[in-house]
Amino acid sequence: MYFIATHRELQFVLGRGGKIRVSENHSSFVPILTIDSLTAVRGYNLLFQGLNFKLQSGQFAALRGPNGTGKTTLLRMIAGFIEAETGTIEKVEEYRERGPFYLGHDHGLRASETPLSHLTDWADIHYSPRSDIPDILERVGLTLRQHVPAYSLSAGQKKRVALARALITPRLLWLLDEPASALDTAGQALLCELMKEHLDEGGAILAAIHDDLELTPDLVLDLGAFA
């Protein structure tokens, strides 16, 4: 067992088998993500301004708004890829100064990489044990195709590899940009399962979703309101 994240003297303990368990002696809600008066600009048009938002541990927030209102920009800003014009984003400090788990539109697999090689490299890069890769592959249903190079994998299969990445290096904050796209019904069921598990263990999720998954969000952030 080792600590996964610390937040003002509260410790989040990583249980055996990679599960996150919020330690007993804590108040139930720990702030994972706090945004205040955030402004975002793309080129010269203003996407949103004065955005305030708070996400607690165990909460699932749905990010809504028509296309082009800056959902992806907001997620990438929280992940730290884009600098905010004004306003601040405060995230819980993850284990080993990692960033949050970011699942974007592109899957991050080079053409000649196989699921197994990609996940092994991913585990090594993040100092995670390689031992649990086989059953994670089993969990996302890629055991049969673990040696197939990426150029002959379907978009859905590559998205499952991306989901497997979240299991190999557990992190508290998940940022999902239309996670259900390219997934078949079985894939979407798997996605919901993983999200439910993550929330039960004290993690938080901010996801830009259109079609409503079975999982009902605890709160909704509509970017249209901040345009």
Binding site: T39, V41, G43, Y44, N45, L46, E85, T86, A227
Partner: protein, 242 residues
Amino acid sequence: MFSTFANPHRFLALSKWLMPLFAVLGAIIVATGWAWAFFFVPEELYQGATAKIMYIHVPAAMVSLAAYASMAVCSLLFLTLKHSIADVAAKSAAPVAAALSFICLVTGSLWGRPTWGTYWVWDARLTSMLFQLFLILGYMALRSAFQREQDAARAGAILCLVGAVNLPIIKFSVEWWNTLHQPAGFITLGGSSYAPEFYWPLWYNLIGIGLVFGALMMAAMRAEIFNRQYEAKLARMNRSAA
């Protein structure tokens, strides 16, 4: 881009009167300086009349080096303190620095033709000026390759700083290379050991070219700020209309 536009008003107010002053003053000084050098300076001992080209070549070289140095300083300011005015300054100084480097190279080779017999000599200063011109053109090309202004600014600033670090290295290595390949007794491009009647026109022209550089840079900066304000206002209007 919004918040950082507060302070350009100070610059706009300052340059509103400073830029025309520099422009007029610079034009007068350069015109008279060139005339002075062209008509009145007596024949130089062994270079003959061609020494007159020095009065364009040396000021252009000095001011273009100063221009690249100011671009590097502005790039450093932009990267560390995110002053968007510093980025506007660096972007506006580039064309002037390129023009002056070009003038320096052309006048240098024109001066070389009668003196050394060929248009191009791998003299250390000429060669490093050539590579400075390459770096500036690269800077301008890199900046225009990006759609978003922030990416262009950041990439340009990094390249400018890397270039600034390398220019002295290039100058040293070409100088060292020159001593190896060049036969002895080579006339260097003129130092400052001039007799007084040659000395003053050189300083006079230097001030003139310096003022012209200041005027051109400020004009380009004002144009750039107006452009950015125009686009920002246009975007705001589209959004309020949408």
